[in-house]
Symmetry: none
Subunit: 202 residues, 4 copies
DNA sequence: GATGAATGAGGGTTCATTCAT
DNA sequence: GATGAATGAACCCTCATTCAT
């Protein structure tokens, strides 16, 4: 009777540990040994669950993305009014900022940096695809708003990019120096400017 | 003293080469040997002008920043109207996108990723300081606008962050996939939304 | 005591599996896990029957040797004429080439390579001892032939080495490229040259 | 003025050191660090001259082969009589046995073992090709002998294989235990048996 | 007895940095 | 000053072996 281990569960535990360590030391500066030690396991054990460091990295990225999508998805689920949904989308960012996941967000920059360099075909980190997905969601929210006559008929594709970019860029700035502004306040202010800027007859 | 001039000039040449190589291969994947080869000099020669790879990285960052500031500064120099200045600030980004410097912008993400991890005291890449500088500029532009009654009395500190963040985030998205939207169009659209969103009696 | 029989039987099964895997992948490239998997048992189980990989290797060598000796011994058993015996010895190689054991012969080179390196005292693979045994057999056959006046009084020790060497070397060459010559034909040709070369008044 | 190093010369020195170490410890048991230490250089320096251990191995093989070919070629160069040439070929082995190169011959077995496992397309160690080359040489010597009516019209292809195999196999046996027979004597005896065995009207 | 999860010593390789020429 | 040969610390990954179940 061999030792029975929930492989999936342990893989998850390693992954979460990895993300934490990535956040602390940076993806490139993190050694497999660091992850192993942080997880309280042997170096070799990591390789029982992941084939390579690269696989850990890309899985971390995917994991992080899915957390985000989850938070956002839950927020929008029960809303019907398109502007409410848009507002909820902004608000979801506020929630993420406070969430456990947020503490790992520093990794995202590493992923970005890594992702920009990847060939389009590479499986690992596909930044373009990630943005495409988010952009599609926001664009459809904006389209609903336009259809409902709640905002001017702006170019929703570009506007979606602007909204996403704003949140990303704001986050980076805040991480760089958390004392400079109150991120929650900033996120509250965002829709007031954006929605206001898009309202009206166009 | 021609030697001193030569020394400075050569340091510059190495730096510019380094930025190019960083952009192509990523900061982490760039070896000193790559820079030396690209610069057409010996590996050891690089160390005659720079004490370490780290120093090249931080100097690259500073150099890049100064290029940006230069472009923006020249744009704003002769303007008087505060809203014009704000618009010029946005427009400067459009110019940068087309500029020679822009071709190196892919490095910025590496700088970000690296910068976020640095201790505040570290000399290398001080993202916080960089943002502080930019934010101060934009904030003062916004303050002028508010003083002149051209926009609502918004929290100019946070708003400046939002504006900067928007441009950063937009850029990253565009780099990830340049076919998804027209960056020039996006930059033109930005002030229309922002200024509109901030106008009015507040 | 069925357990003891089982134990022996299972040890054999592991061994035979090991030889097969060794032949396919080479001794050095074969992992314990490979053997376990090929045997349809767990990795740990292998260690219930063998204390180390080294032991498996040396046992494989012994096993292989014994198979060969068996084939040859059976061939010579009922013969009386010394030259017939010598011819039968050659012929035995022809049989071995077709035998089940032959399919594993690719391992032999690994054994050779490993064996040459071993200290004389080491238990694992004693190439010298193996050759000594074979040589003694062939030498006594040759001595019989000389005594019977069937061949010239050659140095039977050296000649035995030559005969054995020829068969070994021929085999290796054939394994390297089986299309170059017909091994059965070569083995038939051997005694014609050797016996002829040793015949006569000396 | 950089340090000037005869790259080729140093590569050779590393190679020769490598062969020595391979001979002592076996190819598989030799660490790059061992080679470096034996050569009195740093581990990293080895990689300035060789891209991988694999490259060192295959180069060692090639080097060894070329030494052998050189010795043999020089022996045959000035001979005209076909049987003399054949005898010289045998004698060359006697010379090799005494030569500096011979002290490394233990590596050859590793090469063989490794070579047998290689795919035909693999560049590294091509045992089949090596044998083909040697076989062609010996076969043409035999063909000359047959044409000149000096030996029976044997199958020269197979006979060449037998001759080569004999020398290989003999060598291995001798390496396994050098006290058992005198290799020089054996090599002298070889042609007496072979030539005698092939002489006559057939 | 059987298992396979866990382990860590060990080896190949990279690369920033040094330094003799 | 310029160079590139030399170096070794570091890091990823492998795999024989152990051991708890």
């Amino acid at each position: 009777m061999p030792k029975i281990v929930d492989k999936k569960e342990k893989r998850s535990r390693i992954l979460e540990t990895a993300i934490k360590v990535f956040a602390q030391k940076g993806v490139n500066n993190t050694k497999i040994a660091d992850i192993a030690q942080a997880a309280g396991i042997g170096k070799g054990t990591v390789y029982e669950y992941y084939h390579s460091k690269e696989e850990i990295i890309s899985d971390s990225f995917r994991h992080f993305m899915e957390s985000m999508s989850g938070v956002i998805g839950r927020r929008l689920l029960h809303l019907r009014d398109p502007v409410d949904k848009l507002l909820a989308y902004f608000a979801a960012w506020g929630e993420i900022v406070d969430s456990e996941a947020m503490s790992y967000i520093e990794v995202v920059l590493d992923f970005w940096a890594e992702g920009l360099r990847q060939e389009k075909t590479a499986m690992t980190i596909n930044l373009a695809e990630m943005y495409a997905e988010y952009r599609a969601t926001v664009k459809s929210l904006l389209d609903e708003c336009v259809s409902a006559g709640r905002i001017r008929p702006v170019d929703t594709q570009i506007t979606a990019s602007i909204l996403l970019g704003t949140m990303d860029g704001l986050l980076v700035q805040w991480i760089a120096d958390r004392d400079v502004f109150d991120i929650k306040l900033a996120i509250e202010l965002l829709p007031k400017i954006f929605i206001a800027g898009m309202e009206g007859h166009g």
